[in-house]
Symmetry: C2
Subunit: 226 residues, 2 copies
DNA sequence: ATATAATTTATTGTATACAACTTCATTGAC
DNA sequence: GTCAATGAAGTTGTATACAATAAATTATAT
């Protein structure tokens, strides 16, 4: 599990996700091998894994490149992420045990401190925990896994969002609605509130785009209105 | 794209999905290499890809095994599949163009022939096309991709379901409800109808389980009732 | 001088050789 | 006779060597 190839994979994954390795950067096998002090074989294995994960694109006999996450794809991914979370909320509303609900309530309350102190980093973690708690309460490990994969991929963009002024308070308020719906066992409402909460829209959408490509922002704000 | 490694991957994938290679079957690298007339390297590459896809599990220094799809996981996957399709229907209800709706209507009508002739194989293909049309109308290529991956993985189980008596007619009726909702632009209803349509429940659920393990069927019917 | 073709260089894709680890069997001791 | 320990065999993980393909540069012809 902690073989050189796996370390390599997670390391590269991290660098791509955080944006340290920029889009379309060529990932030369020999250079990477030298850098990590291994042969090309484990490097190739790591690259293959990242390719199937969608983080790297292989052009036959041309090389491996960091996959570009265009604005369109990014929005699409956020939409799907919203659906994962909405599904979790819906299932949680139906399936959550007393203990599950207690944990959700707890995680929700924990967020209060971060909101009051205005600590966005703190809120980021507590927010993550809140969402994770609901995913667990959905009792669908496959959903949890898929959601986790996408979540990691969106990590870099997600974090930026919370920095927006007033976002933390409104995020907390939205959590509140979700919790109420789950407690009431209202699957439909829990689902809808959660989707609204996660999905990027309006001005937040424009902010997000600005973090990727300044140039293409305008024409895509239009598209966002649908 | 059609390199030896890729041919190998799709071939193995097919054999695992169709059940030709049973669960927990050991995938010996040298044997596979001999069988396909290549060296171990491309075999390993294919196995890595299948591992990240979740079809194969690697136990370090022990070997590669066909991942087992237990009843629980299978239900979970069907649930997520239902959510993908529900999302597609929801988005289609909001975003579908006149041409999109026309294509959906067309695909739906095409199913009529199969229902009347009672040809389950024919219906299988036309049903697939119907669902694909809605996915396209959702205008989210990432969703389309994710859905496609899971769809292929569930292929073997899905096909069996249609054989159930009367399932074709009720499936068609459910399609009808979905189409109506999309045409009316009722996102909520389109979504819910589609989810109900796809998700496995009730007796169909028991039928499905029987195809995997006869033994574990009973105790899981209980779980299905939630 | 420019365009095209050929050769060279660099990089990916595959094969083979070697090392590390795990498992099974055999041998020895209690 | 049984359990444990050591060794042998087999399999995965890694390194290196070789082949194939594509890009770049240079040389030649128009």
């Amino acid at each position: 599990m902690t073989s050189p190839a796996n370390i390599l994979r997670s390391q590269l994954e991290e660098e791509i996700i955080t944006g340290l390795l920029k889009e379309n950067t060529r990932l030369d096998e020999v250079s990477l091998a030298e850098r990590f002090g291994v042969s090309r074989t484990p490097v190739r294995e790591a690259l293959i894994q990242l390719t199937t994960a969608g983080l790297v694109v292989k052009r036959p006999h041309k090389g491996n490149f960091v996959a570009e996450v265009g604005p369109t794809l990014l929005i699409e991914m956020f939409d799907v992420m919203g659906e994962y979370e909405a599904m979790a909320a819906r299932l949680a509303a139906r399936r959550a045990s007393k203990e599950d609900i207690e944990k959700i309530r707890e995680a929700h309350l924990d967020c209060t401190d971060a909101v009051l102190s205005g600590d966005t980093d703190d809120y980021y973690y507590k927010n993550e925990k809140f969402h994770k708690t609901i995913l667990t309460a959905a009792h669908n490990s496959f959903l949890e896994e898929q959601s986790g994969i996408l979540h990691r991929r969106l990590k870099a963009f997600r974090r930026l969002q919370l920095r927006t002024r007033g976002r933390m308070q409104s995020s907390f308020d939205e959590h509140n609605e979700v919790v109420k719906a789950i407690e009431a066992g209202d699957a439909q409402k829990a689902s809808n509130e959660m989707r609204k909460h996660v999905v990027v829209q309006g001005e937040r959408f424009a902010d997000l785009l600005a973090t990727i490509s300044q140039r293409n922002a305008e024409k895509l704000i239009h598209a966002a209105k649908e």
